[in-house]
Amino acid sequence: MSWLEVNNLTLTFGGLKAVDSLSFSVDRDSIFTIIGPNGAGKSTVFNLICRIYNPVQGDILLGGESLLSDLPHQIVKRGVARTFQNIELFEHATMLDNLLIGRHSRGRFQPLRELFFAGGQLEQELVYRRKAEEVIEFLDLQAHRHSRVSDLPYGIRKKIEIARALVAGPKLLLLDEPSSGLTNEETADIAFWIEDIKEDLGITVVMIEHDMKLVNKVSDKVLAIAEGRFLALGTAAEVQDNPDVQHAYLGTGQT
């Protein structure tokens, strides 16, 4: 059954159609990968789902309800969390603080209780912390709790970004190129974790990825887009064999 539905989505920047009447749907508890050449509009699709951009037309439905009525900071309450292509962590804070910020949407604004640290703040902080610790254990990040993010290597930061998204407790996780900049080993680890996120945590994953080894290994379904338009949808092998996809990546061979 389809859970995330993108219907006829279009976004234009001036005369440029970044996303052009794109439709696809993602099943619950699956791993859905979007591939496409540079500038195909993959990240733009993510930004549309996260409400950073307003589509010119079309709709995005999650569990049958439109996301378009939400503001960008309300999306996480609908169960959507994401990572970014070029790591957007809170660099001057510790990893632990980064993860705790991930829990922001679960709390309420209680200025007086916060400023006087009274009325159950300690208990609430402990609840946040336990959730963060669950994720720390899941992603094997124990060694870095109190390190400043700016002091940590790239591979670890990439993992922290996934961790921060998981702390938010999402039902839909959007991963924007989880393997970019990682070594082969790290990419292999990421593949395991993505499968675990789906199977153990019951989170639906939509990812943008270029590394076809990773795509082949984890994807249930692959969508190929180019210039904002739908190219092909199917299993990883089917999409790779599709002549339109090969054309988009490689050209026709005739000059």
Partner: protein, 359 residues
């Protein structure tokens, strides 16, 4: 080498990590409380100024250090607090205990208004806007006629705390110290709870803060509110320390001094605001010693202090961007791991990639 092993999550949440840390801070507090017995009035007054500036500095730290919004006009909020307090005391006979929180709230409300107006401004634009606000406030106070005392100024009555007259240096010192410690606790509480973390998140990456559910506009305004309220609180105390209010005491140079304070102290840390306050208050004294060595023509020329302030700011930005507190951490680390200290331990990695700013 002292290693503090964590045995419970509460250690990361409580005020002090362990007994050793608690002992240090509590002995500092005892020393501060014992000061009236140890030194005479002049030094108590100086220390009072340090505490008052530290409160204003903590206010600016909330705004600039935590939420990442620059203010070049924070002296205006100090002025609003000071004037509101004095006017309530003299014109309306409001008791001191009520007037202080009211003036704090008035200043906070002014901050909230500015925060809302400047909700979409960043960096330089915000700096100019706050600067303009400060100039407007200074002018308004100057042209307020009898109500604000105009450019002629306005005398400030002594503190009267539930009938007890607070006029001696040591009494004022204790009042200032108490409020300072309370403000320290409040700001520390902010940093260890949800709102404080939200401010840090919008400082470091707005796009991901939003993705995690942080309402950017709301928390920017909240930071402005808290920051202006603390500055206003400092203003109420400063009024009594000055004895006399005039708009010139809250001009451009005061705003710059506040900013200098938190940068020199160490941006983004509570310790930084306090160390910065000590530094700023001790600087004129240090300069006066230094002036003895200079030829009299240079020593008496007016711009020397400003020159020194400017030079110090530049030197800190070049050599110690982490401020006095950062330097303290390095010295602490040096002795902690002696003789294994390496300068590289504190070298920050440069990041070249940043997601293009959306919108």
């Amino acid at each position: 080498m002292h290693i503090s092993f964590r045995k419970s999550y509460k250690q990361d949440i409580r005020l002090f990590r362990d007994g050793a840390q608690a002992t240090w801070y509590l002995s500092l507090l005892v020393l501060a409380l014992a000061m009236p017995l140890l030194v005479d009035g002049y030094y108590l007054d100086e220390l009072s100024f340090v505490f008052i500036y530290a409160i204003a500095g903590l206010g600016l730290m909330v705004l600039t250090g935590f939420s990442g919004q620059v203010s070049f006009g924070h002296a205006a909020f100090v002025a609003i607090g000071a004037y509101a307090h004095t006017i309530m005391l003299t014109r309306y006979g409001v008791p001191w205990l009520l007037s202080v929180p009211l003036a704090t709230l008035i200043s906070g409300a002014a901050g909230l208004a500015i925060g809302r107006v400047c909700a979409k401004m960043h960096g330089l634009y915000l700096a100019i806007a706050t600067l303009a606000f400060a100039i407007i406030v200074e002018r308004l106070l100057g042209s307020g006629g009898d109500f604000t005392g105009g450019h002629g100024g306005m005398p400030v009555p002594d503190i009267s705390l539930i009938g007890i007259d607070i006029s001696e240096s040591w009494q004022k010192y204790l009042v200032n110290l108490t409020i300072f410690v309370a403000v320290l606790l409040v700001v520390r509480n902010l940093t260890r709870t949800r709102s404080g973390r939200a401010m840090i998140s919008l400082r470091d990456s707005e796009v991901s803060a939003r993705g995690l559910g942080v309402n950017i506009a709301f928390f920017r305004a909240y930071a402005f509110f808290l920051s202006a309220a603390l500055a206003g609180l400092a203003g109420t105390l400063l009024a009594h320390a000055f004895y006399f209010l005039s708009p010139e005491s809250f001009g451009m140079s005061e705003s710059i001094r506040l900013l200098l304070m938190i940068v020199v102290g160490g941006l983004g840390t509570i310790h930084g605001a306090v160390l910065g306050a000590f530094f700023i208050m001790l600087l004129p004294t240090a300069l006066s010693w230094f002036k003895v060595l200079l030829p009299s023509g240079i020593a008496t020329s007016g711009g020397l202090d400003s020159l020194a302030f400017g030079l110090i700011l530049v030197v800190f930005m070049l050599l110690e961007p982490e401020g006095l507190y950062g330097r303290w951490l390095k010295i602490h680390h040096y002795f902690n791991v002696f003789p294994m200290y390496r300068r590289r331990s504190f070298q920050r990695q440069k990041t070249f990639l940043k997601t293009e700013r959306l919108k």
